[in-house]
Amino acid sequence: MKTILILGGGTGGTIVANRLAHGLRPDDVSIEVVSDSPLHYYQPAQLYVPFGEEDPRKIARSERKLLNPKVNFRIDTISEWIPDKQLLRTAKGENLSYDFLVIATGSIACPEAVEGFVAGADHFYTPEAAYRLYHKLSELEGGRLVVGVGGIPYKCPVAPLEFTLLAEAFLTHKGIRSNTEIVYTFPLNEVFQIASVVPVVRSLFEQRSIRAETFFNLESVDPEKKVVKSLEGTELPFDILVMTPPHKGAAFLRGHPMADNDGWVNTDRNTLRVNGLPNVWALGDTTNLPISKAGSTAHFEAPVIVEQIMATIRRQEPPPGKATYNGHVTCFIDAGYGKATILDFDYDHPPTVYEPDEFRHLQKMAFNKLYWHLVPTAVI
C-alpha cells in the first residue's frame, strides 16, 4: 500500500486527488488531501464581489463534498517538511509520512508586507477584503481611484486589469465616472507582462480615459494623507486605493531548501517534479515557474502529475505526451459592459488577443457557474 499525500484543497490539489482516486484501486494506494480550510474557494468570483455581482458567502463549498469518497481529507496546517525522511509535521502535532507528495498549497496575499497597506489600501484577494471594498465603492461619490499591482508574481495576472475595466464600467453606471479619475499602476515598463497583450489593453485604457503609471513598484501607503508611494519616487494621492498585495508561498515553504525565500517551490517546467526529487511534484501557484499563477495553470498541470504517479505505481512508462506540461494557460479578461476576451498560450506560443466581445463574456459567466460541476470533480 503506497501513501499519496496532497497538500492543498484548491483547484490543483482537488483535481489531482480525484483523478488519482478514479485511476487507482483503493487496495493499492491511500490518498489523502491536507488543507488548512474545510472550504474550497472559487477565487475568480472574488473579482465580482466589490461590484455587488457575487455574494461572498456563496463562492466557497465543502472540500469534503468535492472530493471522491475514496480520498481521505485532513484539516490541518503543514508546519514543517523534511524531504530526507519523507515526512511532514503539522500544526496539530501530527507526523505524516508519504511515498508520493504533491504540493498544491498555492499563493497567499500578504498586505502586511507593505508599510501602511492594511490601514490605507484595499484589495479583493480574500472574500472578506472584497466585501469591504464593495462597501467603499458603494459609498464613493467621486475623486481618484488608484488600482495597481503591488508585486510580481501575484495570483491571476489579469485580475488587476479586469478590476480596472470593471470599475470604470461600474462608475459609469453609477453616474460618477465624469468626476472620478482612474489611475492604473504596474511594476514594469508596460501595462502587462506579456507583450502581445499590451496593445489591446492600451487601446481599452485610451478609449475609457484610464491613465497608466508604469515602473511603479509599491513602496508604502500613507493612510492619513491618502498617498501611495513607489520605490521610483512617484507619489499618487487617492480616495480609494485598490492594490494587489505582494504574494508568497505557504509559510512552511518560505526559505525551505526546496524553495526560495518567498516560498515558491523549485519545479521542473515540464515534469513538474520538485528540485529533482523522484516522488515529489508541485503545481499551480505553488511553483517558481515563470507562468501565470492561475486556476487554469493548475487545471492543465494536474493530469501531467497524475500520469507520472500512476505510471510509477503500475511500474510502467507514462503514456507518451501525457506526462509533460507545455506551459498551457487560459485566462479570460472581463472588460466590463458585458464584453470579455480570452488569452490562451503556452511556453512557446504567446497569446493572440482579440477585441473583447459578448460571446467571450457569456462563456466566462457560464464557466464561473459550471466550475463546481466540471473542474474540481475532474470531469474536464
Binding site: 510580481i152 511594476p187 514594469l188 515598463n189 507582462q193 515602473f215 513598484n217 520605490l231 521610483e232 519616487g233 515563470p290
Partner: protein, 80 residues
C-alpha cells in the same frame, strides 16, 4: 567592472522577463544607500528593461558587462 565593490549579486540566468528586472528591484530594496548590487541576466530584454528602470528610479547604472555567452551583468548603485 574592477574596483567596484558589489554588496549583493543575483544570477538570474534561466529566468525570463520580468524575472531579472524583478530580481534587480528586490536587491535594490534590500540594499543600503550607497551600495552597489548586481544582476546577471541571459534575457535579451534585460538590456533595455534594467537600464530603463534604473533611470526611472534615478539610481546609477554603474556599468554593464558581458559575462558569458549571451549573458550580461548589470551593476546598480542605490544612491538615494
Amino acid at each position: 567592472m574592477e574596483g567596484v565593490k558589489i554588496a549583493k549579486e543575483s544570477d538570474a540566468r534561466g529566468s525570463f522577463c520580468p524575472g531579472p528586472l524583478m530580481e534587480m528591484i528586490r536587491l535594490v530594496r534590500s540594499a543600503n544607500v550607497g551600495e552597489v548590487v548586481a544582476v546577471i541576466s541571459g534575457d535579451e530584454g534585460s538590456k533595455k528593461d534594467i537600464p530603463a528602470w534604473i533611470n526611472k528610479a534615478r539610481y546609477e547604472l554603474v556599468g554593464t558587462e558581458e559575462v558569458g555567452p549571451g549573458a550580461s551583468r548589470f551593476l546598480c548603485r542605490k544612491n538615494h
